[in-house]
Amino acid sequence: MKSLLRSVILVLTVLLTMSCERDDICIDDTTPKLIIRFYDFENPELFKDVANLKVNIEGADGDYINETITTLTDSIALPINVVGNQTRFTLTLQENEVLEQEENADILEITYTQEDVFVSRPCGYKAIFNEVVPELEKDEDNWIDDIVPLKDPLDINNESSAHVKIYH
């Protein structure tokens, strides 16, 4: 009896001082980014790389203030603002002597409606973007020739494929 009581007290103390650790981390897809692929304007079937691209996102702080992509690339993914219903991206081609490229800034603006979708316990809610309309701001010298959404109407709810084509 006494030893039984003693073991009960021992087990109680152990269990009371024990606490649980959180066991899951967010590994699911959350708010999708805007995926852009660059195509050749003269030959619309082919991808065309951009070099020394700089991206600014209005309202961003930290890295995206002056994000520079120095390598050649034919696709980029840009985060979309979840506050408000529009995001303005300034895509700047920086000066490059080898490519005989001059500095040229073009502005891409997308407007959309948002929907919040529950993902999982650790991830919480993500936003998905519906009825996305990409638009190029015209100036005297656009390096971007055309912007075409891959679907119409365009919904951005995952990152599995490109959303917008840019011809240049």
């Binding site: 009896m1 959350t30 995206y64 985060p79 979309i80 979840v82 529950f118 650790p122 993500k126």
Partner: protein, 228 residues
């Protein structure tokens, strides 16, 4: 073969016959187990409720002895629990009932009624959940959006099966201290649209694959009805 079995049976009959005759005089000294209803409450929940704003509740427990080793058992409780997750927090309020059987796996010494319990329960809970606040999980470099309007999800329910392992020890005449550990598996759950039942009263935190764990520490009192 059959002849030897039959003669063995006859032999046994003789033995039991004498035993019964002898037993008549011994009856008064033989210890009889007490049968009755045992009621109690969780002693840790009220302490939690007092110190933790986010975890209030109580639980009543009871069992009724059916046979030497089997007991009918039930728990009845209420929980008001707020949980903070990385991107949101929510409050779940509701009541639950668990009913099933306990089996005493402990062979007591004469005159003792302690228990090592293995048991099974069916649990059912009805509850309301409020999503108090949520921040959209989006790019950390862009401004974040937090929804502060609470969203109510009412009339939710869940049911589950529960495996009980525990102890009950008589510390004073008729007074038992007990603790139990429970492993749960969810059977049904009415998940709200665009949210999930992440906490269920009685079941507690719902882990991946619908598993859960819970504890209770009880003090209970035996009301004996008869001896057998």
């Amino acid at each position: 073969m059959s002849r030897s079995i039959i003669s063995l049976l006859f032999l046994l009959l003789c033995v039991t016959g004498t035993a019964q005759r002898l037993g008549k005089e011994k009856d008064t000294t033989q210890y009889k187990d007490r049968y009755g209803i045992r009621v109690g409450l969780d002693i840790v929940r009220p302490i939690y409720s007092f110190f933790d704003e986010n975890d209030k509740g109580f639980e009543l427990v009871g069992d009724y002895r059916l046979t030497k080793r089997f007991y009918l058992a039930a728990e009845l409780g209420y929980r008001d629990h707020t949980r903070q997750e990385d991107f949101y927090n929510f409050t779940t309020k509701g009541q639950y009932i668990k009913a099933g059987v306990d089996y005493n796996a402990y062979k007591n010494w004469l005159g003792m009624e302690n228990m090592i319990i293995t048991g099974l329960r069916y649990g059912f809970s009805t509850f309301n959940t409020t999503l108090n606040e949520s921040t959209i999980n989006s790019d950390p470099f862009l401004p974040e959006r937090t929804e502060t309007d609470p969203v109510d999800y009412d009339n939710l329910n869940a049911s589950w099966a529960e495996l009980v392992l525990g102890l009950k020890v008589e510390v004073l005449q008729n007074v038992f201290l007990g603790f139990s550990f429970r492993g749960n598996v969810k059977i049904t759950s009415s998940d709200p649209e665009n949210f999930k039942n992440l906490y269920v009263p009685g079941f507690e935190r719902v882990y991946v694959n619908d598993y859960g764990f819970s504890f209770n520490y009880t003090i209970s009192y035996l009301i004996p009805f008869y001896r057998k």
